[in-house]
């Protein structure tokens, strides 16, 4: 139940930011789905690893899905990426850092600060990993061509 609610609210949260950043209405569903996909990856990996590593996987999910949408809908990847990445942003980490700084517990502040920095780096790496994949790979024609070649080669080998 919490799992379903989590996914649902991750998508409504992403949708909210899609609205705030004036994303065209026809892309609302895609933006919501992107956020959900990212949170799904994060939620599945977080019990097994560090939050930073889980954020990495979450970011990978977000960027993959948004690149697929970008090619499919023929529009800039930014439209899906920005609203989709929001569930992963370490808002709580920033809060705790600030809170401990104010209440003069500097060690805890440093721990929380570095933790949110780690999460940010996880997101950065996730984005960089997928963004550097060649554009060609996201076009279906490219894969179809390869399939045709494979089919062509396969019978001759037999």
């Amino acid at each position: 139940m919490t799992f379903v609610l989590n996914l649902l609210l991750a998508s409504t949260g992403s949708l909210a930011f899609a609205i705030l950043y004036n994303v065209p209405r026809k892309f609302y569903l895609c933006a919501a789905f992107t956020g959900m996909a990212g949170w799904f990856c994060y939620y599945l990996t977080v019990p097994f690893t560090d939050t930073a590593v889980a954020s990495f996987f979450g970011a990978v999910g977000v960027v993959l899905v948004s690149r697929i949408f970008a090619v499919w809908k023929k529009c800039p990847i930014t439209v899906f990426l920005i609203s989709g990445i929001f569930p992963l942003v370490p808002g709580a980490g920033v809060y705790y850092t600030m809170y401990y700084l104010v209440s003069n517990e500097l060690t805890l502040a440093a721990i929380k600060g570095l933790e949110s920095l780690k999460i940010a780096f996880g997101i950065v790496l996730g984005i960089v990993f997928i963004v550097t994949i060649p554009k060609k790979w996201f076009f279906i024609q490219n894969w179809r061509k390869k399939d045709v070649e494979k089919e062509y080669i396969a019978p001759s080998r037999k």
């Binding site: 705030l20 950043y21 600030m98």
Partner: protein, 270 residues
């Protein structure tokens, strides 16, 4: 001889117009939160399609430089300052679609100018919807971070009030510093009120970290990373500093209120 000169002049005039078009498209893209490489690509695509040669572009996070020459002399050199401002991803998507159509050869230069003008006047989503969205973002993310449904409901209310408050502040002072510091302070004040005056137990950390979300500079942060990944390090760094500074402003606002509260209550509730 005379005829030839005339032709060159006409061509120069034409490429001048094309370059103006490219500059305008680039400016609109950059202003509304596109990445550096998208701006450069759009300028190149437009110029290439209409046959402008000797093009050179240099795009920063807040400025565009375009020059072009016809092999002998410079025919176009212009810089444009584009101040950092609010994002409108709908406009980015529209300009991108327009540049696609230009490359496919469906649009003439004049038509493209008119389309750009129209695109730039694209309305933002209505204010009530934005206000609701601000609340929805705060509430949703509050729950995701492990809060209960009640807390997330209260975060929703805080998010809605925050957006109304921000719209009021932006009317008088558009400075980012003031807006974000006041925003952070406003959230904290509301949260403290909710904790002290509502009859059921609430956790301050969950409430604030959820309600902060509408202030988080998502576009600056994501674009900074994308720019650095595309090795536009300079623009990426500028945008990253912009994003980090916004975080700092929010923390300053929230922190000030918290420390005042702390000293008033003698640290009893913290």
């Amino acid at each position: 001889m005379k005829e030839k000169e005339e032709i060159i002049e006409i061509n120069n005039g034409e490429s001048h117009r094309v370059l103006e078009l490219a500059m305008e498209a680039g400016r609109i893209l950059l202003r509304n939160g596109a990445e550096i490489f998208r701006v450069e690509e759009t300028v190149w695509h437009i110029c290439e399609h209409y046959g402008v040669q000797g093009l050179d572009t240099f795009v920063l996070s807040n400025g565009i430089f375009i020059t072009a020459d016809d092999g002998e002399k410079t025919i176009y050199a212009k810089t444009k300052h584009v101040p950092l401002s609010g994002a409108h991803l709908g406009i980015v998507a529209e300009v991108n679609a327009l540049s696609r159509e230009i490359v496919e050869g469906k649009v003439s230069v004049d038509e493209a100018f008119q389309r750009l003008k129209k695109i730039e006047q694209m309305p933002r989503t209505s204010k009530p919807l934005q206000t609701f969205a601000s609340g929805m973002g705060a509430g949703s993310f509050c729950y995701i971070m492990g809060a209960t449904l009640t807390e997330s409901g209260i975060a929703f209310c805080i998010g809605v009030l925050l957006h109304v408050f921000l719209m009021g502040v932006k009317k008088y002072n558009s400075s980012k510093v003031i807006v974000n510091i006041l925003g952070g302070a406003f959230i904290t004040v509301l949260t403290l009120c909710a904790i002290n005056f509502l009859p059921f137990p609430l956790r301050m950390d969950k409430l604030i970290s959820g309600a902060i979300m509408p202030l988080v500079p998502g576009i600056a942060f994501t674009n900074a990373i994308r720019d650095i990944a595309d090795s536009d390090i300079l623009s990426g760094t500028v945008r990253m500093v912009d994003a980090v500074l916004v975080f700092v402003y929010i923390a300053v606002g929230a922190g000030t209120v918290l420390s005042i509260y702390n000293s008033l209550m003698g640290g009893m509730f913290l």
